[in-house]
Amino acid sequence: MEIIQSVLNGLLLGGLYAVIGIGMSLIFGVMGLTNLAHGDLIIVGAFVCMTLTAQLVGSVWAAIVITVVIMAAIGFFIQGFLINRVLDKGAEPALLTTFGVSICLSNTLLLFFGADARSISSSFATANAFSTNLFSVSSVYLLDFFIAICVIAVLHCILQYTYFGRSVRAASDNIHAAELMGVDTKKVFSYAMALAMVSAAIAGLLVGMTFIFYPSTGTQYLIIAFGVVVIGGMGSLLGTLLGGIILGLAQLLGAYFWGSGYQLLAGYLVLLLILTVKPEGLLSIASRK
């Protein structure tokens, strides 16, 4: 009954994928921008968190709090000083800016940390939360999933019930009208990017605890984020969770049926299938409540 194990792992892994994709989905929903640096920013989060854990504060939990603050500041400045300046000039300059940021980040990491594989060590890494005859649940996968649900729930509440959240949605809905309500849309974009980077910091921690990472792994997570966001529908939070779970399940079931070499292939076959059948994503922003 290994298939139960595969389904379970796929489901839990889907949670992690959702956290990886959610910041990208948020930014696309708000300003129609595909942030090509999202994967690298996640890896920056992982490196910052790793360094803090190993050398400064000792505990992963203290480290993530500081990492979240640092990453939010980085997001605020990237948006405020780079992307906001080119946003009025059409879609391409902003896209290229994020591409430039992506290259700068991965090379800076390479310069400081070298090309070695790293991971964030924690007591979760190898332990099982519980196991039965049929299956076992790894602690770190369970933690990934639990934190994913928390991140999505908190983001949902912020967007739905706060003045800031409403201004984000208003700016994404009708930017001209939002300006007329007195919203400083550029500032809102900066805060939205800071929020997206909070999710990237958390994704970085989880990725670092679950897998190994290198300065160059950002692209890999960018592609996962892309997959999640395209499957779920750009800009929809619930869709992101759904997208993550579908991608996770597709990968692990692909590995179960055809062998682990087909894991990635199976994931992207499902992605292509969904693009063919429902190109706007399962829960695109247009059909959101």
């Binding site: 003045y163 409403r166 201004s167 949605r169 208003a170 809905d173 009708n174 001209h176 009208a177 939002a178 300006e179 007329l180 309500m181 007195g182 919203v183 400083d184 922003i285 959101r288 409540k289």
Partner: protein, 244 residues
């Protein structure tokens, strides 16, 4: 400018690149009045509004609100000073509920007080919005959207409200409804500027009128003193206005 004037525009010129869109516009909006700015398509009404709201920058001239220069300021600052616009084509937030749209009207921090009372007020003016409060705004009819745009604009308790093309695409009976509410809002003390193509109705409801043609103000006066033929000629650019 006397303290009776809320807004004063002096010799305003606006260019889009080489093209001059507004020529030497001067006008005054008196406190507590309803003023109409009338003109056909392309007369420069929207450019004028966008310049007042800080979306376009003038090449020369000035816009004064309560004696302060506001031309060149960022839109959100101008709105914060108490200028509100109910935009043309009632551009509402379609993916948000009616109530959320209204709450966006009171987004600026100093307008976030007494939200419940302000909601009650706009629900009293536009009862249909109360019925639809929880619905997504994209399900509203054209008239209801227009009402929502106006209601949203007054949620910030502005000092000056611009209404761009209220009557565009609406049935006469609904326009009538909205205009009576506009009058009611004005009688409660709000200064209102109607920017319209609908000449007859806006003249009927306003205390003072400006007629625009090809980026210029070609006629102004109290509606009671303007001759209908004169307004028509100015609006269509006939007779002595033809050289403009």
């Amino acid at each position: 400018m006397t303290s009776k004037d809320l807004l004063e525009i002096n010799n305003l010129n606006v260019h889009y690149g080489e093209l001059q869109a507004l020529h030497d516009i001067s006008l005054k909006i008196r406190r507590n009045s309803i003023v109409s700015i009338i003109g056909s398509n392309g007369a420069g009404k929207s450019t004028l509004l966008n310049t007042i709201l800080g979306i376009n920058k003038p090449t020369s001239g000035s816009v004064l609100f309560l004696g302060d220069k506001i031309d060149g300021m960022q839109t959100n600052r101008i709105v914060a000073k108490g200028v509100s616009l109910s935009p043309e084509g009632s551009s509402i937030f379609q993916k948000m509920t009616v109530k959320e749209n209204l709450l966006m009207g009171a987004y600026l921090p100093h307008t976030r007080v007494n939200t419940a009372a302000k909601l009650e007020k706009v629900y009293r003016l536009f009862p249909v919005l109360k019925e639809k409060a929880g619905q997504q705004a994209s399900y509203l009819s054209g008239g209801q959207r227009q009402m929502l745009a106006i209601a949203r604009a007054i949620m910030s308790e502005p000092k000056l409200l611009f209404c761009d093309e209220i009557s565009l695409g609406l049935a006469p009976i609904i326009i009538q409804d909205i205009y009576s509410t506009i009058k009611e809002i004005n009688e409660e003390g709000l200064t209102i500027v109607l920017v319209e193509q609908d000449v007859r109705r806006s003249l009927k409801y306003s205390h003072y009128s400006y007629v625009m043609l090809k980026g210029r103000i070609v006629l102004e006066g109290k509606p009671s003193e303007l001759l209908e033929g004169e307004v028509q000629d100015a609006y269509f650019g006939l007779n002595k206005y033809i050289k403009c």
